[in-house]
């Protein structure tokens, strides 16, 4: 049997024929419900009817794109509105062929500012629209890139037969069974967001990246803190509602700012991801370097590998301890570079 591809109109016809045939009263509504269940509702109902379904534009960002559960990516382009198709009668299936996607839902871009910053008021009579948001990481590779930023190489469940045979062939009795290593994000991550002035242009990127992390890795595995200058000067935890996927009704945002906490490293073995500029944006990076060295040493004793995503090119990077890995946070950032940074030294 050949592997089956994605849901298509053939699935819809099969379900219609088996479930809706012979149910004359309400068959039309049932066919619409079946099409909605398959995520092919546009084939059963005119687009105009769907537009009048009561879904407000403001809600669009919080809804899945269709009933298949695939949330719309934050960065997808906005092609033309899908148009309804005229289908032949169910009994005539000979002329049917797989459909090519004809469009996606329109784009909505959340642009959210940092809590501590207030936008300047506009002059009266001036109107302005938010510029399109273009994240620093290629959206098409967001899943693999953000996953690689926190994934660590860990022993899997499969015995590494080659290493085992090699050891036995050398006459070295294996003290422990070698297992094949795999990259996994299951250790979770502590994310530290630089809230300094120099990072102001990148606040949206920080939020975008941690939301991508929550979507792809799971908010349960994340703790996110914001710091100014250096984490050792204190951190504030970012409420999970700010970055967790909106699968359920959103909770109201807390009214009070989270308390300032003394920085504590994560549990041993948990990677740390810093989204910051190490002070480069303010031009006083050298003043904070001893703090960063002390912070990195603290993590090293707990085997928590840190990685700093820095929106400054390597030509500007300060000299730091080797245990503090830096990566250039821009469109060139990819899986290979991140794996290299995360590989145990």
């Amino acid at each position: 049997m050949a592997a089956r591809g994605e849901l298509w109109v053939g699935d819809l016809l099969r379900a219609w024929k088996q479930l809706a045939d012979g149910q004359a009263p309400g068959a039309s509504a049932l066919r619409t419900a079946i099409a909605d269940t398959l995520g092919l509702g546009t084939l059963a109902a005119p687009a105009a009817a769907r537009r009048s379904s009561g879904v407000a534009d403001d809600d669009v960002d919080h809804l899945p794109v269709n009933d298949t559960g695939a949330s719309r990516a934050i960065d997808e382009p906005s092609p033309p509105e899908p148009q309804p198709l005229a289908l032949p009668p169910v009994s005539d299936t000979r002329s049917l062929r797989p459909l090519t996607p004809i469009g996606r839902s329109p784009l909505r871009l959340p642009v959210e500012a940092d809590d501590s910053l207030q936008a300047l008021p506009l002059e009266s009579g001036v109107s302005a629209e938010a510029l399109p948001f273009d994240p620093l990481i290629d959206p098409a590779r967001a899943r693999e890139t953000v996953g690689a930023a926190i994934a660590l190489r860990r022993a899997g469940k499969t015995i590494d037969v080659a290493r085992l045979v090699d050891a036995v062939a050398r006459g070295a009795p294996p003290a422990r069974l070698p297992y094949r290593a795999t990259w996994s994000p299951r250790a979770g991550v502590q994310v530290l967001l630089d809230g300094g002035e120099g990072m102001t242009p990148f606040f949206d990127d920080q939020l975008w990246l941690i939301r991508q992390l929550a979507r792809n890795v799971g908010a349960e595995l994340m703790r996110v803190y914001r710091y100014h200058g250096n984490p050792l000067r204190g951190v504030r935890e970012l409420p999970r509602q700010r970055y967790a996927p909106p699968a359920y009704p959103a909770s109201p945002r807390p009214q009070r700012a989270p308390p300032l906490l003394a920085y504590a490293p994560p549990p041993p073995g948990t990677p740390v991801l810093v989204l910051g500029d190490l002070g480069l944006g303010r031009g006083d990076e050298s003043a904070g370097l001893p703090d960063w060295s002390a912070w990195a040493q603290q993590l090293a004793t707990r085997r928590c590998p840190p990685l700093v995503l820095l929106p400054w090119s390597p030509a500007h990077w300060p000299k730091l301890p080797r245990c503090l890995a830096l990566a250039y946070w821009d469109r060139s950032l990819g899986l290979g570079a991140l794996r290299q940074k995360r590989r145990p030294t």
Partner: protein
Amino acid sequence: MPNDLASYTSPLSGPLTSESLPEGTGLDSPDRRDGSVYRCPPALHLALDVALATGRPLLVRGEPGTGKSSFAAFVARNLGWRYYEHAVTSSTEARDLLWRFDAVRRLADAQARAALGGTPLNDNDYIEPGPLWWAFDAASASRRGQAEGVPVRPLTEPFGELNADRDRRRAVVLIDEIDKADPDVPNALLVPLGSLRFHVSDLGRDVAREQTPALPTASAADARSNGLLIVITTNEERELPSAFLRRCITVRLDPPDSGELVEIARLHFTRPGQDFDGMVAPTAQRLAERLKEARDTARAAGQRVPGTAEYLDALRACLDLGITPDDDDPLWAELRRISLAKD
């Protein structure tokens, strides 16, 4: 759910019914795996039928405690199909659902054999078939992939007691909480779930789902489906890959409202000769209202939201301990804290 679905009559899986628990039944687990008690909303029933009609996996989404995991066993009992499950954890690999190979045991046996002598080792003895292997080909799984007539180390079928009287060629598989797995796991399952076939590299052979012949007394589901239903649940702690979602029939289980909670309680607490409406319903109704308050409070605080399972636990405690779910009862605050809020 559209109103039109309220009267949905299934031509495929038929009416799905719960069993009355026998008189004298004591503790009734709210997360039953025998599938005897479940309340199936019409939209879920329709999604089940669409999954059966199209032969696609059914992905059930929703908050924890909304009854996602109990649904598969309920369907298996109603259809008379075998039932298998795998609870996904963060260390689950896609291959765990297909088979596992006990290399450590084989190594130990090989060393013992080298020292003591004996018959050659049989790789099949170290194979542990996973739930998808059992569902695709139970006969082959029960022989660890060994050809008929060749001796192999005995193997116990999962849920053997439950499946004893059920058709070996038809099965329901529950893959529970797939969002707990590493992000690569769902994509690694695309081929086995799409082609109903996989390659056992440790044996160098394929396991494939054969087309199931219709039974002489087949129900509609038997006759029109492939005799296989794969139910996957997710708490949506992380987003699933698009390629995976596009191949599944998806349905969301919303938390039941107060009236639905009482109906669920009716299914779990009705015993022969017992007056549910007179003895249980008032407490069940009041507790359902308190659960809604607790859920709203937990959501506002960004905390874990209590679900149906907690409701049933709290109701059982109220009935057995004589606690009224009202602020007038001094024990209620403590019961609420330990059974619903769990703070």
